[in-house]
């Protein structure tokens, strides 16, 4: 099956570019923020950029098989589960430390 490179006048690499930009923003969020919730949001951004990638690949390269789309759905599930557990952990830390700055957690080192 020939795979189109352009659909509705938009080439595939536009999507990939946007997705990688989003991934980089997510990366920056995880690495630069000193707030655990913001870091978690960074991770969510990374996962969502992946979804963008997946859906674009699916639509452009292999629309007959549902694999790409299904994978994107599973990434949603994973992201939601991680967010739920992550928020619970952050709340638990907040109760003990009265802060959600991971930098304050440096009891364990070397």
């Amino acid at each position: 099956m020939p795979t189109p490179n352009v659909i509705n006048g938009i080439p595939l690499w536009w999507y990939l570019l946007v997705a990688s930009g989003l991934f980089a923003i997510g990366l920056y969020g995880v690495l630069a923020r000193k707030n655990a919730i913001a870091m978690l949001m960074g991770v969510e951004l990374m996962l969502n950029s992946v979804n963008l990638n997946l859906l674009a690949f699916w639509r452009y390269l292999n629309p007959t098989s549902a694999a790409g789309m299904a994978f994107a759905a599973f990434v949603f599930v994973v992201a939601a589960a991680e967010a739920a557990v992550g928020l619970a952990l952050i709340i638990s830390v907040y109760r003990t430390l009265h802060s959600i700055d991971p930098e304050k957690l440096d009891q364990l080192k070397l």
Binding site: G26, G68, Q107
Partner: protein, 479 residues
């Protein structure tokens, strides 16, 4: 798509553990709070059943199921058996330890079983979707388990650090999978890069690279290892024991599925990289372990170093040697942790520093002997399994022309003798200090130690026993 009985058999260990943990969740509601050890014993029974099921399926031939999403071969069923056994031994360790610390909770065992169900899915993954699902299923309960000893700050810290770095690593893994999918148009591990013109595609190469990053995190390979010492030190010791063994095995199972089972024809691409990572992991793990005064943290670095040795076998494309090495390492490490949980469990206060072990060999000769045997096996002295395992991976490396890697492995393990022996010295030679508490008695824990030590010796003397079970180990079904 209809699900037939072959499909069910293919992942029967997974199905039994997953359904069992749901059952456990319900059963736990009916068990009164002061009788939580019943949940523990139910979980133990569940894992025993799953282990027996996996063991009985060892003989079946290799086949794919669920439309090629999962694969079942002797190696997969062997790894299932191993993981369930590790879980079982861990539960034996927890009974006394968790009770003293007030974390003998029903959810501990439910989370443990859920995590194991994820691991038994990873071992069968023949598709990147299943791989991701299994890895997340094993990781998420572990994040919670690390922090289960709240409000102890070190437990919470270890959990949050593990979670943040783990989620970060998941991002790389998923991105890698997406790129691989984009390059090959499929998620199947068997066919992903089969098209020859694809295998040089930068998209695919970056994708595989990012998948390796995600999996390197799970096995704590350098430079993706930094989370491990902190998390291992802060988590409750029973959880650490589980993570250092079962999670390591599952992480390697994923690595083997991707590199040995999938990506046919790409060995020359990843082999040098894996070899370099293996070398870095052996060097950094052993060097950092040299300076540790905290036994738990030392074992964390030691587990990093041993991931390096297993990676030598991965680089050499010898699945059997990797699986054998991991089996030996797992039982040896469980034996060591059995001693640590014993020392730690006196009054709820963790006794992790080496000084706490002085005089152990004389006050409790058997416990001291278990510790010494574990250390000797970690060094790799015959007739323990540690020696045979190292021998297999190094021999595999030499056979593949990776002589420098084998030489480096032998050198670093000679270096490792220093810090392992120091533990033996302290336990047997130094006078016991009055501050060191006497270990509390626990029959299940002693059973766990006995099982581990027996495995260390039996596998060290008759490794042929295990090799026949692992099978030929080549996970790929591609003709």
């Amino acid at each position: 798509m209809m699900i037939n009985s072959t499909d069910v058999v293919a992942v029967l260990p997974f199905i039994s553990v997953a359904l069992g943990s749901v059952g456990l969740l319900i059963a736990d509601l009916l068990i009164p709070a002061e009788r939580r050890h019943v949940t523990a014993w139910l979980a133990a029974a569940l894992l025993l059943t799953a282990a027996v099921i996996a063991l009985s399926l060892l003989g079946s031939p290799t086949f794919e199921a669920f439309g090629g999403m999962v694969i079942s071969d002797p190696t997969a069923f062997f790894l299932d058996t191993l993981i369930c056994t590790i879980g079982l031994v861990t539960i034996l360790l927890t009974l006394r330890y968790n009770q003293v610390r007030g974390i003998l909770r029903g959810e501990f065992y439910i989370l443990l079983a859920l995590s194991i169900s994820g691991m038994t899915l990873v071992t069968h993954a023949n598709n990147l979707l299943i791989l991701l699902l299994g890895i997340e299923l094993l990781s998420i309960p572990l994040y919670v388990l690390c922090g289960i000893a709240r409000p102890r700050l070190e437990s919470e810290e270890s959990a949050l650090k593990y979670f943040l770095t783990g989620a970060f690593a998941s991002g790389f893994l998923v991105y890698g999978i997406a790129l691989t999918y984009g390059a090959s148009g499929t998620l199947s591990l068997q066919t992903a890069p089969a098209a020859p013109n694809v295998s040089g595609d930068p998209l695919l190469l970056i994708g595989i690279g990012l998948i390796l990053v995600g999996l390197g995190f799970k096995v704590a390979a350098v430079p993706f290892h930094l989370w491990a010492p902190d998390t291992y030190e802060g988590a409750p010791t029973t959880v650490t024991a589980f993570m250092a063994t079962a999670t390591k095995v599952a992480g390697f199972a994923a690595l083997l599925r991707v590199l040995h089972g999938g990506l046919p024809g790409m060995e020359s691409t990843w082999q040098p990289l894996v070899a370099i990572i293996a070398a870095a992991t052996m060097i950094v793990g052993n060097l950092a372990a040299l300076a540790q005064q905290n036994l738990k943290r030392m074992l964390a670095y030691s587990s990093i170093a041993h991931a390096g040795y297993a990676l030598v076998g991965v680089a050499a494309h010898d699945t059997t040697s990797v699986v054998f090495y991991l089996t030996g390492y797992a039982f040896t490490t469980l034996a060591a942790f059995a001693v640590i949980t014993a020392i730690g469990s006196s009054e709820g206060e963790e006794m992790q520093f080496l000084e706490a072990y002085s005089g152990l060999g004389r006050q409790k000769p058997l416990l001291g002997a278990v510790l010494a045997i574990a250390m000797f096996s970690l060094i790799g002295i015959p007739p323990t399994v540690g020696f045979i395992g190292k021998y297999f991976v190094f021999q595999a490396a030499v056979a593949k022309g990776l002589v420098w890697l084998a030489v480096l492995g032998v050198l670093t393990s000679a270096m490792a003798a220093y810090y392992y022996l120091r533990v033996v010295m302290v336990a047997f030679i130094r006078e016991g200090s009055a501050a060191a508490p006497l270990p509390t008695p626990s029959a299940p824990r002693n059973l766990a130690a006995a099982i581990s030590v027996a495995a260390v010796f039996v596998l060290g003397v008759v490794p042929a026993l295990l090799l026949s079970m692992i099978g030929n180990g080549m996970l790929s079904t591609t003709p």
